[in-house]
Structure formats: structure tokens, C-alpha cells
């Protein structure tokens, strides 16, 4: 199918990445190994690409998720979830006879992960050939956001052929190096401290080492780097400017999803106003993360209004 004739009349963001069914189980009591342990099982739609896309849609950014999913039962659930959240799947594809991406994990009785299995082979089907058919649409986007679930070969192809500004989410320390060969093509990259250490070769432990890592990464060609350092804050840097923004005062309910929400907020900020000073972008990211931390859902019910409210009324932690 050739999408090159399709042109969207309005501005939009394209997200190319993974969409998962997350399945998790938490026992009510201590685990008795290798046996049936009573507990609660939950299912929710996840995947970094999808989570960011969902946050973007909540923030009223027209968002097209370019991903693949299977023609199995989960595939249908994933599709419906995107429709309900106003994530456009026009350029995604449902693949026949393929298992939709799944991530399942079991925690202990306190919620700490015991073991997990990820089954994300289907992401390999997001190939250069697949994206070539969608290239015109991708290049007309205001922003093209990528997650590191994509294969390095796919990311390299994107680096070589996509002209829209590239934003990247590193996903995990295992997958962050997928971006290695296209760092100089990235307009925005948002690694955490560990991932930044890996990509820069500088061990990030505090603000000073973070600044050093940021300089190394900027030298490698990244235009804007946001190093997320958890409770310490977020370091934002480009060639002209640097800003360190601490978190907002937050009552943490569920840490799951804060990073994805922060990435979406940064994207939203550039979409909304491309010339915003780094310090303000950092505040927006922290406001969004705070909202996510206070929500028990992995993708919070965030809106632009809630972000404004948080920015105006809440205080930065000391």
C-alpha cells in the first residue's frame, strides 16, 4: 500500500514504536515457589511508544502511532484501546498470524518485580520497507518520535531518510544503544541517568557528572538532551543553554509511567511552541511526571489544563 498521496491538513505528531499488552500478577501473600499462589491479575495496554502516544493524545496533540500488532485476541483489544484514546492507527498495521507484543510479569507481595517475560518479536516487523511506504506521511509530521523497541537497522534507516525532527525515548539500558549510530540525527533524546552513562561513557551519579555526560552527548550530535535523574531532577541541555529542574512536590502513588508522560510533555511543548526556553520545557516535563506519579494508572488522565494548573500552583521540591 502506498501512502505517499495522503497529506494531513493539520499538524500532527508521528510515534514509531512498540505497543504491548502488559499483564501483571501480584500475590496476596509471600510466594510459595513453583506453586499456585493466590493474588490479583491485571491487564493493561502498554508499550513505551503507545504510552507516549496516549499521553500525547490526552494532551490534545493529533497523534499517529505507527506500529504493528497481531490478528490475535490481544490485537483486537489493543486496537480498541487506541481508538478509545484517540490515537490514530491509520498508518499502523495488523499482521496476520502474528502474536501481538506482550509483556508479562509477576511481583512479590509488596509489588517488587520477581520475574518477567517480554515477547516483543513482532516489533521486528517495523522494518525500513514497512516505513518506506509511509515515508511521505512521516516527513510531513511536525515531530517524529521513536522508541528504542525498534531495531538498530530500522533506526539507522530512519536517521538516513526521515526529514522530520527526530525525538527519541531510550526505553531501557538494554535497548538504549539502539540509538548509537543516529545520535547525530536526534533533535531530542531523553535518557535516564543509567542510559545516559551507557550512551556517553560518563558515569552519571550527580549533577556534575550529568553535565559532563550531557556535553559528551551534545558533541555526538544530539541537538537537545534531557537527562532524567529521578528524584534529583532533570538536566536539560543544548549547545546554547543548560537548565536543571527539580521535581514538583508529589505524593507518589505509582511510579510506573512517569517517564513516558514526561517524554510526551516535552514533545507537546515543542509541538506547541518550538522556541520555548529549556528551563520552561524542564518545568513542563516535571509537572507532567508529577501528575503521572500521583496517578495509579500507567498513563494518567492528563490534560493541558492539568499541566497548566500544576505549573501555576505547585511548588518545586527543595
Amino acid at each position: 500500500m502506498n501512502y505517499s498521496q495522503t497529506v494531513s491538513p493539520d499538524d500532527y505528531v508521528v510515534v514509531i514504536g512498540g505497543m504491548n499488552m502488559d499483564i501483571f500478577g501480584m500475590p496476596s501473600d509471600k510466594v510459595v515457589d513453583r506453586d499456585s499462589n493466590p493474588g490479583i491479575v491485571g491487564m493493561s495496554v502498554g508499550g513505551v511508544g503507545q504510552n507516549i502516544a496516549q499521553n500525547l493524545a490526552h494532551l490534545e496533540v493529533p497523534t499517529y502511532l505507527i506500529t504493528v500488532y497481531g490478528d490475535d485476541y490481544n490485537g483486537q483489544l489493543l486496537k480498541t484501546s487506541c481508538e478509545n484514546n484517540h490515537i490514530h492507527l491509520d498508518y499502523a498495521e495488523q499482521l496476520a498470524h502474528q502474536r501481538s507484543s506482550t509483556y508479562m510479569y509477576i511481583t512479590d507481595e509488596t509489588g517488587d518485580m520477581l520475574v518477567g517475560v517480554n515477547d516483543m518479536d513482532i516489533c521486528k516487523q517495523i522494518t525500513p520497507e514497512f516505513l518506506k511506504q509511509r515515508l511521505d506521511f512521516i516527513n510531513d509530521a511536525t515531530i517524529c518520535l521513536l522508541d528504542a523497541n525498534l531495531d538498530p537497522s530500522t533506526l539507522n534507516w530512519i536517521g538516513a531518510h526521515v526529514t522530520a525532527p527526530l525525538f527519541g525515548d531510550t526505553v531501557s539500558t538494554i535497548k538504549a544503544p539502539h540509538f548509537d549510530s543516529i545520535l547525530d540525527k536526534m533533535t531530542v533524546l531523553k535518557p535516564n541517568a543509567l542510559e545516559a552513562s551507557l550512551l556517553s561513557g560518563v558515569k552519571v551519579t550527580d549533577l556534575n557528572t550529568a553535565k559532563h555526560a550531557a556535553e559528551v552527548l551534545l558533541d555526538k550530535g544530539i541537538a537537545n538532551i534531557f537527562i532524567s535523574m529521578g528524584a534529583q531532577g532533570i538536566l536539560c541541555a543544548n549547545k546554547d543553554d543548560m537548565a536543571f529542574v527539580k521535581p514538583f512536590k508529589t505524593t507518589i502513588v505509582n511510579a510506573n509511567g512517569a517517564g513516558d508522560c514526561g517524554m510526551a510533555a516535552i514533545t507537546w511543548s515543542y509541538f506547541d511552541e518550538s522556541d520555548r526556553p529549556l528551563h520552561e520545557i524542564g518545568r513542563i516535563a516535571q509537572a507532567a511526571s508529577s501528575i503521572a506519579l500521583e496517578s495509579d494508572k500507567s498513563v494518567p488522565d492528563i490534560t493541558p489544563k492539568l499541566v497548566q494548573q500544576k505549573l501555576m500552583s505547585d511548588t518545586i521540591a527543595n
Binding site: 502474536r99 508479562m104 520475574v115 518477567g116 517480554n118
Partner: protein, 362 residues
């Protein structure tokens, strides 16, 4: 059966397509009168749920749990506290359901009594039962309740790392729930239960079930539900992990297995089938002890072995097989199950079971 019911049944046998109105005319009663008789015939087990197909007089009833099994098999040895690359599978399962399906494959007519929710898992279960030609007429779907789920992680070789179950819906199988199905239960040739059932319900069955009862213990935390009144059981199938709870002795080898089984037999259970992973399987009654050491077989998933063994024992009982034959068949069934990544081996038939038994014992 009343005379009137017998009469209606024989008219239906002659003409399975006969309508209720025609029956009413023949009998000289009202259509709603006919409907009531048909309802009773169904409850008593002489007629199936749809289409008034006449059931053969002999069938087994299985009362137990359905589950959506969701399991991850890691590609390499599992690293704790970490996300491991691998495959995630979904399979409709559950002990009761697996026993019922094994029986279906062995050609044993059976009704499966269970509960499921109106969620995605519940819908998948219904579709699966239809696809496997299982009879779930006497099961019930509950609104606004989650179907039972069993989540587990396996090593590449098939051994379980950890499992978790969300199965509170099974509490809906109350004594009252079974009372509504009592006639049908007591018309079975055998009744098979698992310890997913609430204890009250198991005790109700011990008291009210007049047919030979087979039970499969599941999980250390639930096996104890079988204890009070366990002497009512014809056969108990259990795993080493449940042996301590049910006998007071932890079965770790042939010797302790025999002791554990004897304790259970002393409580009144006629036959015990006890299997110990990596060690072997024991089939024992008052007079015989048959121990089958574990053979090096291509094991892909140990989940389901117990259900297969239970079904084989029920089948053997129905065929009035000897004690030795029964034990061998249960053993063979367990291996067939373990060879398959699915809990119920797709290829199970009474032929493949006999072939496996031949392979193992001759």
C-alpha cells in the same frame, strides 16, 4: 424417570426434530407441560441442552475450575527480578476444564460444571468450549466478574519458576449452585472434582453425591479443602507438593510416597495416584503399590500432567480396567501431557494413549 417423561423421551428418540407442540398433541397435554417434562429430562441427564439430542445413558460430570492460563517461557534460563526475552502464550485451561477436555478426547461423554465471567477471558473460554465440542450447558457465566486467571513463568525446559492465580470466581460454585444440578450429577457414572471448589461445596458433594468420586488436588493452599470427608473418594490424584497437606507425610521418593499414599488410603480413599516431579509416579490401593520411576522424556510443559492422569483413571474406571492397566494408563497420559507445550495434548485419543502405554511398558 416418570412414565410420562419416559413416553416423551421415546417420542423424541423416534423423531429428534419433533416440536414441543407436536409432543403436546401426542401426549394430550399443554405445550408448557411438555416444556416442564423436557426440562426435567434435561436435569436428570437424559437430554442434552440444545436440540433435544438424546444423551447416551452413561456420562461423567466434571465440577471444577476454568482458567485463562497466561504463561511466559523464557528463551534462556530465567534471570530473577528482570525482564527476560521469550514467548508469552495464552491458553484456556484450568484443572476441571483440562480434565473435561481430556475425557472428551478419550471419547468419554461428559458435562462440565463451572463458572466464568463476562470478560474477554470468559468469551474466549466459551469459544474454546464450542471449538472443542465440550458441553458447558451446566456452567454459568456471571456478569461483572473476572474469569479465573493463572499466570506463570517457565524455564526453557518447561519447569515452572513461579505461578500466580486470581481465582476467586470459583467461590461462586456454592452448594446451592450444585443443588440445582443435583439430579444430573447423580445420574453420572462418575463425578470428578478439583480442589478449586470451595470447601463447603466439596463437603456438600461428599454428602450428596451418590456416584464414585474422583478428585484432583490443586495447590498446597487449596488441597486441604478435600480433607474433611475425604474417605468418600474413590480416587485421589495429587502431586508431591500436596502430599504433606493431605497425608501428613512429604513424598520425596518411592518410600515416602508409599507411606503418604497409605495414610490417605487409611482415611478411606480407595485409590491414590501420586506423582513426584523428576522422581516418578505411584498408583496404590489397599492391595497394590505400583511405582513408575520417571523416564527421560522430552518434557515441554509439566502443567497438565495431573489432569491427564485423572482423566485416564476415570476412563479406565469406566472401562472396568484392572488396577495395573489403570496405573499404566494414568502414567502414559501424564507423559503425553508433558510432551506437549499445551496442558492438554492436542493429539490425545484413546489410540495414542494406548500407543504411549505400549511404548512405556512393553
Amino acid at each position: 424417570m416418570t412414565d410420562r417423561e419416559e413416553q416423551i423421551l421415546s417420542w423424541i428418540k423416534q423423531n429428534p426434530m419433533i416440536s414441543q407442540n407436536e409432543l403436546a398433541e401426542l401426549a394430550g397435554i399443554t405445550r408448557s407441560g411438555v416444556a416442564a417434562h423436557i426440562s426435567n429430562l434435561m436435569k436428570k441427564g437424559y437430554l442434552r441442552g440444545k436440540g433435544y439430542i438424546v444423551t447416551p445413558p452413561s456420562y461423567v460430570t466434571v465440577i471444577g475450575g476454568i482458567n485463562m492460563d497466561i504463561f511466559g517461557v523464557a528463551d534462556e534460563n530465567v534471570v530473577d527480578k528482570s525482564s527476560n526475552a521469550g514467548h508469552v502464550y495464552y491458553a484456556v485451561g484450568g484443572l476441571g476444564r483440562n480434565i473435561a477436555l481430556n475425557l472428551r478426547k478419550l471419547g468419554v461423554q461428559n458435562y462440565f460444571i463451572s463458572v466464568y465471567g463476562d470478560d474477554n477471558n470468559g468469551e474466549q473460554f466459551k469459544a474454546d468450549a464450542l471449538a472443542n465440542d465440550m458441553d458447558i450447558t451446566y456452567s454459568k457465566q456471571f456478569a461483572d466478574t473476572n474469569s479465573s486467571t493463572y499466570l506463570y513463568v517457565n524455564q526453557p525446559g518447561g519447569d515452572r519458576v513461579v505461578g500466580l492465580d486470581d481465582m476467586s470466581i470459583n467461590d461462586r460454585i456454592t452448594p446451592e449452585f450444585l443443588e440445582d444440578r443435583e439430579d444430573m450429577i447423580n445420574n453420572s457414572t462418575a463425578v470428578v472434582i478439583d480442589s478449586n471448589l470451595p470447601q463447603q461445596t466439596i463437603e456438600w458433594l461428599y454428602e450428596h453425591c451418590q456416584r464414585p468420586m474422583f478428585a484432583k488436588a490443586v495447590s498446597v493452599t487449596k488441597a486441604g479443602r478435600l480433607l474433611k470427608g475425604i474417605g468418600h473418594l474413590n480416587t485421589l490424584v495429587l502431586n508431591a507438593v500436596e502430599s504433606k497437606t493431605l497425608s501428613g507425610i512429604e513424598a520425596t521418593d518411592k518410600h515416602t510416597a508409599i507411606q503418604a499414599a497409605q495414610r490417605i488410603i487409611d482415611k478411606g480413599v480407595n485409590n491414590v495416584f501420586l506423582y513426584i516431579d523428576e522422581v516418578g509416579m505411584l498408583y496404590q490401593d489397599e492391595r497394590h503399590q505400583l511405582f513408575y520411576p520417571e523416564q527421560k522424556i522430552n518434557q515441554r510443559n509439566t502443567n497438565g500432567a495431573g489432569a491427564a492422569a485423572t482423566a485416564a483413571l476415570v476412563w479406565a474406571h469406566k472401562n472396568e480396567s484392572s488396577f495395573e492397566d489403570s496405573g499404566q494408563l494414568a502414567n502414559a497420559a501424564a507423559y503425553l501431557s508433558m510432551e506437549s507445550i499445551q496442558a492438554v495434548n492436542e493429539n490425545l485419543t484413546h489410540r495414542t494413549l494406548e500407543l504411549k502405554r505400549h511404548e512405556l511398558f512393553e
